[in-house]
Subunit: 586 residues, 2 copies
């Protein structure tokens, strides 16, 4: 309930829903678009009549800042209308997956030993498992090591977690058997606690990847690991500690114990995969950049120092190549593009952008070095997506309009903000197709001896310094979008297709969720296709990991996908450099 | 070459062969019996004509102290003619076993990765294994964890140890792949280093079981382990340290590295098995005394702290019951009694004596508490089999004749010595059939207020105190022999046989090698069967362990044996107590 006359934007903000609002609620920026599902609202405002198309109106789209509810209303908020921070928490789109995990749950009650029945504890347990229909039963070593005391402590009544025929956890009958899925990104880590019986996610948490202290990007972490066994070990220890802490927090939130976690699925790019497992990474940093391990790995959590059930296994899906990792396989799995008869390009945008084209039954994949620009690095006033970061930019009538994360005073520009800024600078004629900034343009100033657009004057910024976009910043976007577009185009060419044959472009990942698609199209990062052919699917790698946790079938599909994917190595592709140079132009 | 006129006893001693010689070389004690194989020797002495039987003469038996070689001669020395120390080093009798170990050796050369061949290291290796005909190849986790660096350090040329299809070690092509077999006794540990290609034993070593510091026997060690997790862990740590040290010494002796050891087989009684593996032992010390794990265990050496090849597995054969362990299974395996159509009783004599009867296709087994008397404990002047221990005793014409280990001045009596002494005291009429010592016998003295036989007066002992056998010592032998005989008889009864149906009695183990069979028969520990029906097979558990190391087939047989063996629990057997009481009499 809100006071009469309150618009939907203010009502949403009062309810803690952070709707985007670049223009500050005057109906000109279109960033607070919502879809009316039910209820009575005020008629269209003049501003809405100007900015909303007929398709928008047919779809029930309104601008929240212009719409006043006249009854109880229900609205649907598209992810792009939420601010970055809120979008971070948005789930990836989930396909309905039947709950049929690799880990099965079995309740048993054993007859205790007597002088007439002297079977050893393991024989007793295995006999009971066979009687319950388990084929080739076995006891995993960490469970076996504690079996005599454990069975007696449980008074011979136990709930078992079985991986195949192998007992990986023995717990009290009243405790649920849980799973953990983790997506280790270069920058952040997302963890999910799942009930393996219901498939329900009980809790989820994110954290920074603590390895950032040893290097912001993959290459600098590889260099750090190569310094010696201690540095290499430190990288593994830090991520393991973080996962142990996250697990503890998840368990506390869900009111469960970490010993109930009988299986984990962990995905990450190939370098994160290797560092998590403690594998050498030298070969990832030197030509020809091959993955050490690419086959699926099943390793005991305890072998990695992960504190779960004593016999818990960690499943790590296969990698495809040195720079196309298990996280991309998980993303492809969750995106369902492998299951489509349409021509679909799916990508995970980051410092490296992994792209897979599903077309004509083939899956073609590449990795392209898009650089750290989308994480706010290598940008004059760049910053991570944190409060005060400029995340949306509009230029109209010689005026710059901004939106910052959490509506804090601006202190820098994050990835989606710089992408918006460059697109708007192109629209405004501030930048030409070669990326040159036109010094004659009235909005262009000279800063530090070079041309620049001042987004925020010193007097209005959060730190008292002006915030600018300069020629080099534009160049960084050119490098990034050139790499992504060249990779996409070469995959299409490899499949004998052109951009017009594309039925869909799927954009996954946290950054892919923030970006304003029209800006990405404007700079040429994506082909100029109708906007409805784009699908932003959020943290699909995390969704894929959870699917592999609750479904043996999804795990099999992932292994098959990794095998099916044809990896195209761009660095030796005869056309890549030409394509890249061409795609640098706007 | 020895000077002319030197007898065989002196010649043997000069050559470092420690022949037994209770009478000091005067031809009256028969302990230096040897069998002439070839060559000319002096004719029978008068003494030999007295002590040797017609069967002896037909078999070529001579007394070494009475026999002077007249040419180059070849003689065969029966184990019972060697002194205890030398016999300790005697191998168990070995059956010819075809070398076909579980661990296979494969030499591979891989093509290094190039930009045209970007397969991951594991995929590359698995492809090469498949090409070499290995089915379902896999890489064990500890090998996989190091794979990228290791393959490059080896320049893509490696010798692999494969356990099934799993790579457990990757080493330079010129290094042999080795195995380790270990027999962990309550008192001592024996370890063997074996070349897995040739099956040859490269080195062997023994050591005390360091757990002795926490308790002499199994029960006191279980009590110590039950004091808490630290005590329990200490017992495991100590034995693991000892095995690591032994392995280091074995490798040094053989000029190899411990990383070449790709597999180990470890046997021990159920308590040693559990403590080695770090399993709880509480249930072994409380009725109904069941084994925690009885199934064969395959565990990574690294999981136990054993320092071998990183991926090396330790195979631990199955136990039969809480007091019939994997060492007995190994002994039964090596003894071949399971493969015999005769009625054979095989036993391992120790603080607990495990007995198996093979008869009519059945294997019946029991364990009986024979106590620590054979280790020299609970005996007034008892000691372990160490230099100066009286190991042989003869009483003739009112005189006591002794032999000590290493011919050192006597300082105590070891197990075989006390057994001999009691047998001879029975023969001499010093002890009656109830075990009472006859105070009226001229050799009996009063010591500490009780009847005793003085074996060594204070003036002749190594420590200046007299060495005696008293009534309680005799009682200890009665308890031990009663338990062993009652167990043997109940197994026979269970099979519907009597002692006369026995074709053979097989005696294994270190102590079983020392004992003088006629003494054991005289006290009634063994049935009164012709001496040729007894077979002393030495450390058969160690032999069995080595067989399981070099032969997958022997491992399968051992598992089958453990399953086939019918365990008879004597503590609840309705006739055991009566039988035991009866068998206490001489």
């Amino acid at each position: 309930m809100v006071p009469e006359g309150t618009d939907l934007l203010a009502a949403a903000q009062a309810a803690g829903v952070q709707l985007s609002s670049v223009c500050g609620g005057i109906g000109s920026c279109e960033t607070c678009r919502v879809r009316l599902v039910s209820g009575e609202v005020s008629p269209l405002s003049l501003e809405e009549e100007v900015v909303l198309t007929d398709e928008d109106l047919a779809a029930g789209i309104r601008l929240a800042c212009q719409t006043i509810p006249l009854s109880d209303v229900k609205v649907d908020i598209p992810p792009e209308s939420l601010t970055a921070v809120q979008r971070l928490q948005v789930e990836g789109q989930e396909t309905e997956v039947a709950v049929d995990p690799v880990v099965r749950i079995l309740d048993l009650e054993l007859a205790p030993p007597t002088l007439e029945d002297l079977r050893a504890d393991d024989v007793r347990l295995l006999d009971a498992l066979r009687a319950a229909g388990v084929e080739d039963p076995a006891v995993s070593w960490p469970v076996g090591r504690d079996l005599p005391d454990r069975l007696r402590a449980l008074n011979w009544r136990a709930r078992l977690a079985l991986h195949g025929g192998q007992v990986v956890a023995l717990q009290p009958r009243e405790k649920a058997v849980l799973g953990l899925s983790v997506d280790i990104g270069t920058t952040s880590v997302a963890a999910y606690l799942v009930d393996l019986e219901s498939g329900e996610t009980l809790a989820k948490k994110g954290a920074m990847n603590p390895q950032i202290g040893f290097g912001e990007d993959v290459m600098s972490r590889i260099a750090y690991a190569n310094q010696g066994p201690d540095s290499h070990a430190a990288l593994q220890q830090r991520i393991i500690e973080t996962l142990n802490n996250l697990t503890g927090e998840l368990c506390q939130e869900a009111g469960v114990e970490r010993e109930q976690v009988a299986e984990a699925v962990v995905v990450g790019n190939t370098a994160m995969h290797h560092l998590f497992l403690g594998l050498p990474v030298r070969q990832l940093g030197e030509a020809p950049y091959v993955s050490g391990l690419s086959m699926p790995v099943e390793v005991r959590a305890a072998d990695l120092g992960l504190q779960l059930a004593p016999g818990a296994l960690v499943y790590v899906p296969p990698n495809v190549a040195g720079y196309v990792g298990a996280d991309h396989v998980a993303m492809v799995l969750a995106s369902e593009i492998w299951n489509s008869e349409r021509n679909v390009l799916a990508m995970d945008i980051g410092t490296n952008t992994e792209i897979t084209l599903s077309a004509g039954g083939r899956l073609l994949s590449c990795s392209t070095a898009s650089g750290p620009v989308f994480e706010g690095a290598h940008i004059h006033d760049g910053m991570r997506a944190a409060p005060g970061a400029i995340e949306r930019v509009q230029i109209a009538d010689g005026q710059v309009r901004l939106q910052t994360i959490d509506n804090q005073p601006p202190v820098g520009i994050c990835g989606s903000g710089i992408l918006d800024a460059v697109a708007e600078m192109l629209n405004a004629g501030i930048v030409d197709s070669s990326g040159r900034m036109l010094k004659t343009h009235p909005m262009v100033s000279t800063v530090d001896g070079g041309a620049a657009l001042v987004l925020v004057p010193a007097s209005q910024s959060g730190h008292g310094r002006k915030i600018v976009v300069n020629r080099r910043d534009v160049h960084e976007i050119q490098l990034a979008k050139g790499a992504i577009r060249a990779g996409s185009d070469l995959l299409l060419k490899e499949a004998g297709l052109t951009v017009d044959d594309l039925d869909e472009i799927v954009i996954a990942g946290a950054f892919g969720t923030y970006i304003h698609i029209p800006s990405a199209v404007r700079v040429g990062m994506f082909a100029n296709l109708p906007l409805e052919r784009f699908r932003q699917i959020g943290n699909a790698a995390g969704v894929g990991a959870r699917q592999m946790l609750i479904s043996a079938e999804r795990r099999r599909i992932a292994v098959d996908l990794a095998r099916r994917i044809e990896y195209i190595e761009l660095t030796v592709h005869p056309e890549f450099t030409d394509e890249f140079m061409r795609e640098m132009y706007f």
